[in-house]
């Protein structure tokens, strides 16, 4: 085959351009080393030193990578943790990343030394791995009642705000709906703090304070300020941790809030008729979250009938040990503060699916998938070779199939699509139908058949079949895009993108190869 003539053909040049663009999008960095920063916790040592969480839209390769801690080179995530283990609290730490050097002071958070950096293995390409390949948790929530699109938008804004206020950044919250118009919210957490996320997002967060049966204030508009600094939020100085049972400790958190003038007035009105019993009033103030009693507070007798806007909110934390109960109390406090700041969600949510995926099980999956794809393409090439006994046909089919995989991955990298197991199945479909089409082109163009038919007519015949198969393939995938909370959307979308790329880019290039072969015959 005259390769020179072939590569000058427009359709082959187009394939070349697409391959090049795909490679640029994938941006392979096979020798990347270090610990890539996935997120930076709010108010942590790292965030105070100026390290910022990468934008959700940033490409994996562009993310900042930790390459040294205190001058010690970091090549893997394990190296990073080994160095962090060596640190002590309140010690200066130097972190060198691909973007600069940061000087941190190591701090204690939640009972242990934590710089507030969440890191993953440095990525080698811009292809984003889906949750089932990298580990994490997927939670699907469904509103308990039908909600409007506006309410759904408010719901999502509120959920995202809760995550921001709470300081969780590597969580994705996306709406999805199904064939019957049911709405769902898919929450994906890449790290290991899924329980926190579940507690934070699945709660409607309807907060209410009552005296007797009278509602005095609610979360949201009635509360104008929520204190989160150490001087007015933390473990209660008045109620010490205590042991309830042999294996149960209880601690209490406390933080102050400011009420709106109207809420403060309601509070004054509600306390006026109460009687003074010793130091306190005859009825406590009861705090409810989602209709469940969180805590009851005695009201000081001097507050009867007074308009007071600064009040204290408290609640418990239980644990097997005293420190554990204190940690739980602080984490409950953080959640309640978040909910009070962000207000309640417009509807109650049901958790309809939780998948917690182990990173260990998916670890070898990527390499075994690449092996599987290469083996499949090789096996197909053998079948083609046996059929045509001509490497000039088998090799282009093999190259076309490989290019298709590269272009699909390139598109996925470009649009930020996550490649998960279902998408891999989609790529296999695309490559499989691609091979089918190339067989059709080869056979239709074969000079043994219809010697009198012109080349253009032969290609028309081939592409008639190819387009019919293409439309049928797309038709079979479209309903799947919308079925059942979008669980198979990845598969359907990848298949559709793949076969479309095949029909419009790789198949015409293969037809150019076939034309060249035809001419030479």
């Amino acid at each position: 085959m005259e390769i020179k003539k072939l590569i000058l053909k427009f359709r082959v040049i187009m394939l070349g351009i697409f391959l090049l663009l795909s490679l640029l999008a994938i941006n392979p960095h096979p020798f990347n080393e270090g610990a890539s920063i996935r997120s930076v916790d709010f108010n942590s040592s790292a965030s105070l030193a100026g390290i910022v969480t990468p934008k959700p839209t940033s490409t994996p390769i562009s993310k900042e990578i930790v390459i040294a801690v205190n001058g010690v080179e970091i090549k893997t995530v394990e190296d990073y943790f080994v160095e962090i283990e060596k640190l002590t609290i309140d010690e200066p730490v130097s972190i060198k990343t691909t973007k600069g050097v940061y000087n941190l002071i190591s701090k204690e958070r939640n009972g242990k030394l934590d710089l507030g950096l969440k890191v993953v293995e440095a990525p080698k390409t811009n292809i984003r791995k889906g949750l089932d390949l990298q580990g994490g948790t997927r939670i699907i929530l469904q509103p308990q009642e039908a909600i409007s699109d506006d309410d759904l938008e408010i719901l999502l804004l509120n959920m995202n705000e809760r995550l921001n206020v709470f300081g969780l950044s590597d969580v994705s919250v996306k709406p999805t709906n199904d064939l019957e118009g049911n709405k769902f919210i898919v929450v994906e957490v890449a790290g290991g703090n899924e329980q926190e996320v579940i507690d934070l997002l699945s709660k409607q967060g309807k907060f209410e304070a009552k005296i007797g049966n009278t509602s005095v204030f609610k979360g949201g508009q009635d509360i104008t300020y929520v204190c989160r600094s150490a001087d007015c939020a933390g473990l209660s100085p008045y109620r010490a941790s205590q042991q309830n049972l042999e294996t149960e400790w209880a601690s209490t958190f406390q933080f102050s809030i400011a009420l709106s003038p109207s809420a403060a007035q309601r509070m004054a009105d509600a306390t006026k008729p109460l009687q003074v019993v010793g130091q306190y009033l005859s009825q406590p103030i009861s705090l409810y979250l989602d209709d469940q009693l969180v805590d009851q507070l005695q009201i000081g007798s001097d507050l009867r009938g007074r308009v007071v806007s600064d009040i204290s909110i408290s609640g418990p934390g239980l644990g097997r040990t005293k420190p554990e109960s204190q940690l739980t109390a602080l984490s409950n406090m953080k959640r309640l503060q978040t909910i009070l700041i962000t207000g309640s969600l417009p509807v109650k949510l049901d958790i309809v699916k939780i998948d917690t995926i182990s990173p260990v099980l998916g670890k070898n999956f990527v390499s075994s998938t690449i092996r599987m794809m290469l083996l499949a393409i090789l096996a197909v090439s053998i079948v083609i070779f046996i059929r045509y006994r001509n490497p000039a046909i088998a090799i282009p089919i093999m190259i076309t199939s490989l290019s298709e995989v590269v272009i699909i991955l390139g598109v996925a990298a470009l649009i930020g699509w996550n490649i998960d197991i279902a998408s891999i199945a989609g790529i296999l479909v695309a490559v499989g139908t691609g091979v089918d089409d190339q067989i059709v082109i080869t056979d239709e163009s074969s000079s043994h058949r219809n010697k009198e038919t012109s080349w253009i007519k032969k290609m028309k015949n081939a592409f008639f079949i190819i387009f019919a198969a293409y439309f049928a393939g797309v038709a079979s995938m479209i309903p799947l895009m919308f079925a059942g909370a979008g669980l198979l959307k990845g598969f359907a979308l990848t298949s559709i993108i793949g076969i479309t790329i095949g029909v419009f880019i790789t198949r015409p290039a293969f037809a150019a190869v076939a034309e060249q072969l035809h001419k030479e015959e």
């Binding site: 260990v360 059929r387 059709v440 079949i465 198969a469 479209i478 309903p479 919308f482």
Partner: protein, 301 residues
């Protein structure tokens, strides 16, 4: 194709095509019988896994004796629907998969930990589907299959503008799917969300050869109908064999249970595709053309 084989195939397609219908009709009856008896036994045509009926799948990267674990869990939860399998990678057991309905994920996990020791969070994958979502998904999966068939029928009809040939092509695909479902039942498998994707994939895969056959037979005029059919077989079979070899390689090379189920369904569907395309669809098309010829002659006289 060898010349002797080719001429006998042409002979069959031209003269004895009605006999070709025997095998696919038997196969169709076989599929219907398997699916029917499964329905009578269980009330369902196909057994649903926990992702479609609600429940928990726990994949643990920790090898364990599955028989022992199963009897232990059955003793602990006597009234639940339970399934324990080994998780193997390239033929090596690397862990276990436990599927259960009607038990809370955490309760199941702690029962398993009681038997095989406390597991690190990284060592397991927990997949819990609420029964409402499972049911909803299954209902919509059936809808997706129906909609896919409607859309495919429209595409095929728009292409050929002939009702019967379009119907034969789409029915062949439907029969492929029934056979894959029957084999699925016979091997005692349970349908997952990925399995649903596989059936839709199968529709896309198997319509290719039917479109090829119908196009070559209806849109071309060279040679006899039998010759056109016979000359299409090498193309179609190469297509199907290429797909089958991919499926086979993927089945044995993948570590993913999901991909394995997809490949299993495709494998049996493609086998059925060979039979239904080249005997059923081909014979009916031949018959259709024969009738058309007769009508033409009749009208001519």
């Amino acid at each position: 194709m060898a010349k002797g084989v080719l001429s006998s195939v042409i002979h069959f397609y031209d003269h004895r095509y009605k006999q070709l219908l025997v095998l696919p009709v038997l196969l169709l009856l076989f599929s219907l019988a398997v699916l029917g008896s499964h329905y009578l036994k269980t009330g369902e045509f196909i057994e649903k896994g926990v992702s479609l009926k609600g429940g928990t799948t726990l994949s643990i990267a920790h090898p364990a004796d599955i028989v022992e674990l199963k009897s232990f869990l059955e003793g602990k939860f006597p009234n639940i629907d339970l399934n324990v399998r080994s998780l193997s990678v390239a033929g090596k057991d690397v862990g276990v998969i436990v599927e259960a309905s009607d038990v809370k994920a955490k309760v199941l996990l702690s029962a398993i930990e009681e038997k095989i020791g406390v597991l690190d969070k990284n060592q397991y994958t927990l997949d819990t589907t609420g029964p409402s979502l499972g049911k909803l998904f299954f209902k919509q999966a059936i809808m997706a299959v129906i909609v896919a068939f409607v859309l495919i029928s429209l595409v095929v009809y728009a292409y050929f503008r002939l009702f019967l040939p379009s119907f034969y092509a789409v029915f062949s695909v439907f029969a492929d799917m029934l056979f894959a479902m029957a084999m699925f039942d016979l091997f005692g498998m349970k349908l997952t969300t990925a399995g649903v994707a596989a059936f839709l994939m199968l529709i896309g895969y198997s319509i290719d050869t039917d479109i090829l056959l119908t196009t070559r037979v209806l849109k071309r005029t060279d040679g006899t109908v039998g010759e056109r059919m016979a000359s299409t077989i090498p193309t179609g079979l190469t297509m199907t064999f290429a797909a089958m070899i991919t499926v086979l390689v993927a089945y044995f090379a993948t570590e993913s249970e999901l991909l394995k189920q997809i490949m299993f369904i495709l494998w049996w569907g493609l086998i059925a595709d060979i039979i239904f395309t080249w005997t059923f669809n081909a014979a009916l098309l031949r018959w259709y053309l024969e009738n058309k010829e007769i009508k033409k002659e009749h009208n001519g006289n």
